[in-house]
């Protein structure tokens, strides 16, 4: 047999496949450890938790997710329908502005709204000033409650439903509108009879995304005093010092995530009929007069309430406290945060490129499955991943301590490296998705051309494919950067001692009832969060008008 002849066995073990397998194994490690403890661990406090607390966690989590699902649908679907099918004043601007609340992390929305509706906040003070004799509670309900949490979470999570459903409506709009015209039915009936059932898979997809964020949330529910699984994990770990109970609670939370995904899968039905029709859509129906302005108002309302008001509030607070907050310490904080996010983004992008390129290179189903496993972290709440990484670090430190007798310190636990690793596990899917789409778009003809010209896989990657995928790499890095910058629960658990990011500092200020002081870091997170939304908007516009 000739020298260069590669058997299929050797071909399966190229540097690319080996690194992909190794990286996937590393990403999966925290979950494997969690599973191990779940089976073999001894939970001292579990009896107490299961008897007295678990029913409340389950009830609260169920009510919260059900409420968020309902409210996101109520906001997201009508706005999506209006934007997709009708033309009305400021439609284009509103179509984009409806996405803006996505830039506000759930915990920031929770603090801000608590501050706005506070006794000392602008709403109650204005009311007191206007009606001096009255000093009772003016508000019909207390924001720091279950309904309040549902409304606040939904106010920043409805864009998921809006975005996915809008695309679906746009695709079927010509069908629906032509049916409306030819059958003489009013558009509203078409909406209820045709468009809504057709958009069911899309709505299920959007709600599933919103609910994953809801289950991931820690800051908002903690601040509003609602006991859910995330707060329970924190309490078991930090309050009761019971690692195995924390892990069992994590498993329960994962069960909830799986339930959401299963429901989404079920609702999506056998057929994925969201894909029919064209992206272009039909000529939009023009709404004139009060109908037009009414539509504008309906679409503007969520933007105003969920985005403009909180941003104004935060700006006002920031304006009054910036002298206090903006010290050298704050700049250090910003630097920390940005470096950390950039570092995590860099590592994740490199790993994403390696995995996506390997799948692209070999086009094997087995590889695709392995690589798919590396994306699993995105569905797992940050707190769960943090616990997994922490358990791994503790085990690593123990091993190290046993090997080197004198060593008692903690090398892994509470290190920046552990935090970085956890971010990568959590968000790798974001980068992988973007890079896979990029490689898929390139196709394999350039790869084939390069290979027949004598260039190996690496040279092909670096000289041909990566230069052509600069846009994808930048997009992946930006998305990852913002995700890491916003992240709260995972950072709270894993951050090194005395190490703060913008997110943890904002959370800390807020939980110490210094809402005004939290505004500066919050605004910075929020503004950075706007970047990917602008990017998404630009990309979708480029798709809409192929020129």
């Amino acid at each position: 047999m000739a020298n260069g002849l590669q058997t299929s066995w050797r071909r399966a073990w190229s540097p690319w496949t080996v690194s992909t397998a190794a990286l996937t194994a590393m990403v999966m490690a925290p979950f494997v450890v969690l599973a191990g403890y779940l089976v073999f661990g001894v939970a001292a406090e579990w009896g107490h938790i299961a008897r007295h607390l678990l029913p409340r966690y389950i009830g609260n989590t169920a009510m919260l997710t059900a409420g968020v699902a309902l409210v996101t649908l109520l906001i997201g679907v009508p706005t999506a329908w209006l934007v997709a099918v009708y033309d009305f004043p400021a439609r284009r601007t509103l179509a984009w502005a409806l996405l803006l609340p996505l830039a506000i992390p759930t915990y920031l929305a929770a603090f801000t709204w608590a501050g706005i509706l506070d006794w000392a906040g602008p709403v109650q003070s204005t009311l007191r000033r206007t009606f001096p004799g009255h000093d009772g509670t003016w508000l019909p309900f207390e924001i720091m409650s279950m309904p309040g949490a549902i409304l606040v979470l939904a106010s920043v999570l409805y864009p998921y439903v809006y975005l996915v459903t809008r695309v679906s409506f746009q695709r079927q709009s010509h069908l629906v509108l032509e049916a409306a015209r030819t059958l003489g039915r009013p558009p509203l009936q078409c909406f209820l009879r045709v468009a809504l059932p057709l958009a069911r898979p899309a709505m299920a997809g959007g709600v599933a995304l919103a609910l994953m964020e809801t289950l991931n949330d820690y800051g908002a529910v903690k601040y509003y005093g609602i006991d859910t699984f995330t707060t329970a994990i924190f309490r078991a770990w930090f309050g009761l010092n019971d690692m195995t109970s924390a892990i069992r609670l994590s498993a329960c939370l994962l069960g909830a995530v799986a339930l959401v995904m299963a429901l989404e899968y079920g609702l999506r039905g056998r057929a994925r009929f969201g894909n029919g029709g064209s992206d272009q859509g039909a000529q939009r129906l023009r709404l004139t007069g009060w109908r037009g302005w009414g539509a504008s108002l309906v679409c503007a309302l969520p933007v105003l309430v969920a985005f403009v008001v909180p941003v104004l509030m935060l700006s006002a607070w920031a304006a009054s406290t910036w002298r206090q907050v903006l010290e050298r310490d704050f700049l250090l904080l910003v630097r920390n945060s940005f470096l950390l996010a950039a570092g995590a983004a860099l590592v994740a992008v490199v790993i994403a490129i390696v995995i996506a390129f390997t799948v692209h290179l070999y086009r094997r189903r087995s590889l695709r499955l392995i690589a798919g496993a590396a994306s699993v972290g995105y569905a797992v709440p940050g707190a769960v991943i943090a616990i997994g990484v922490l358990v791994l670090c503790i085990a690593g430190d123990r091993l190290l301590g046993r090997w080197s007798a004198g060593h008692t310190g903690l090398l892994f636990t509470g290190s920046v490296a552990a935090l970085l690793g956890a971010y990568v596990v959590r968000f790798l899917a974001v980068g992988k998705q973007t890079m896979s789409a990029g490689f898929e778009g390139l196709g394999n003809r350039l790869q084939a051309a390069s290979r027949t010209l004598g260039a190996g896989p690496s040279r092909t990657l670096f000289q041909i494919e990566l230069p052509l995928l600069r846009g994808s790499v930048a997009a992946a890095a930006l998305l990852l950067f913002v995700e890491v910058l916003k992240e709260l629960p995972l950072t709270l658990i894993l951050r090194p001692f005395n190490f703060d990011t913008l997110a943890t500092r904002a959370y800390q200020y807020a939980s110490e009832e210094m809402l005004a002081q939290s505004a500066a870091p919050a605004l910075l997170i929020l503004l950075t969060g706007l970047l990917p939304i602008i990017l998404i908007n630009r990309l979708s516009q480029r798709q809409a008008s192929p020129s």
């Binding site: 047999m1 299929s8 003809r445 051309a449 010209l453």
Partner: protein
């Protein structure tokens, strides 16, 4: 012998027919071979296997005595020294014309690369465009750059994958001529895949006809035209009359009477003969079969008569006659095939469909 292909087979998942079914043939150095067949015949899969972009299930490929493929074990494409010109050219969009050509010259010392690339661009008359990017070129220009790029590393074997099908007819003809000239001038061995028989004839020294993964026939265009092995090859390559016949060991009985058994392998009693339209000779009354001209068509180099035989219910036969003969619809005509041009066709070796 530069390329040897030995019992190459490949089946894609969830496909009825194998993409390649025990294909064997060889190519001599300096030869230009065209793989012709309709889409799905396996010709592109065969080419991709030769290039190393695809691994067969079984069979061997060796080039210049070096074993490159043995079943799923393959030498990677970058170590084969085999060039490939793609259907859509696959030029690197972010590199200039010159850089595209230089890309394949990695094995040369750095200072020689530019000179060699310029030489190649000169050869395809594209030197004036070396600073352009692919999107600034026309289809024909892209084609020439792709050719220069593939030939620059002096591959042992050059492959063309439907490389001319996206050019318009006029340009394609000129391109094929200059490519053939270039290949002959440089002594390059080439294999090209095409579904267009005219392209194949313009380029090839030898022709290989594939259908449903099987290699039906390989040979010079002339020999295939004269001696097609079966019905598919006979009709794929040029016009022909298919004539049913009763076969006996020494003769065949047809619409034209009893003829000496023609060349061709077929053990069945009922078989088909192939008679090209210009191999049907017009005879005086009393000889051959009698028929009526039902249509006369102008063909450029000749005229085509459609003749309905009196003794046959079959569809009309086509006969090519010189332009200076005068024929009209309704004329009576007597036809007899030229004895040594008739061909006994093998029964279909593949399923109809």
């Amino acid at each position: 012998m530069i390329l040897l292909i030995d019992h190459l087979s490949k089946r894609f998942r969830q496909q009825e027919h194998p993409a390649l079914d025990a294909v064997s043939f060889c190519v001599e150095a300096g030869d230009i071979v065209c793989l012709a067949g309709e889409s799905g015949s396996g010709k592109t899969t065969l080419l991709r296997c030769i290039a190393g972009l695809e691994a067969p299930d079984s069979g061997r490929i060796s080039v210049a005595g070096e074993l490159l493929t043995e079943g799923p074990a393959v030498v990677p494409p970058e170590q084969r020294g085999i060039g490939l010109v793609f259907q859509d050219y696959a030029l690197f969009p972010h590199l200039t014309v010159l850089r595209n050509v230089i890309f394949g010259l990695h094995h040369l010392p750095r200072r020689e690369r530019r000179g060699r690339a310029r030489e190649m661009l000169d050869l395809v008359r594209m030197s004036d465009y070396e600073g352009r990017y692919p999107h600034e070129l026309s289809g024909g220009q892209c084609q020439r750059v792709a050719l220069a790029r593939a030939m620059a590393p002096q591959p042992r074997l050059l492959l063309f994958d439907e490389a001319f099908s996206s050019l318009d007819r006029q340009l394609r003809r000129a391109m094929l001529d200059s490519v053939r000239q270039l290949l002959k001038q440089t002594g390059t061995t080439a294999i090209c895949v095409t579904h267009d028989i005219a392209d194949a004839l313009a380029l090839a020294d030898r022709l290989a006809i594939l259908r449903q993964g099987k290699l039906l026939q390989i040979g010079t265009p002339h020999s295939i035209y004269d001696r097609p092995v079966d019905q598919y090859v006979a009709t794929f390559f040029g016009d022909t009359n298919l004539v049913p016949a009763e076969v006996s060991p020494s003769c065949v009985t047809t619409d034209f009477g009893t003829l000496a058994r023609p060349e061709g392998v077929n053990g069945a009693r009922h078989a088909w003969l192939s008679i090209r339209p210009h191999d049907l000779q017009i005879k005086a009354a009393g000889e051959g079969a009698c028929g009526t001209v039902i249509d006369v068509r102008f063909q450029g180099h000749c005229q085509e008569l459609h003749v309905k035989l009196r003794c046959s219910q079959r569809r009309p036969y086509r006969v090519h006659v010189p332009l200076d003969e005068s024929w009209n619809v309704g004329d009576c005509i007597h036809l007899l095939p030229e004895a040594d041009k008739v061909r006994l066709l093998a029964s279909q070796t593949v399923d109809e469909g």
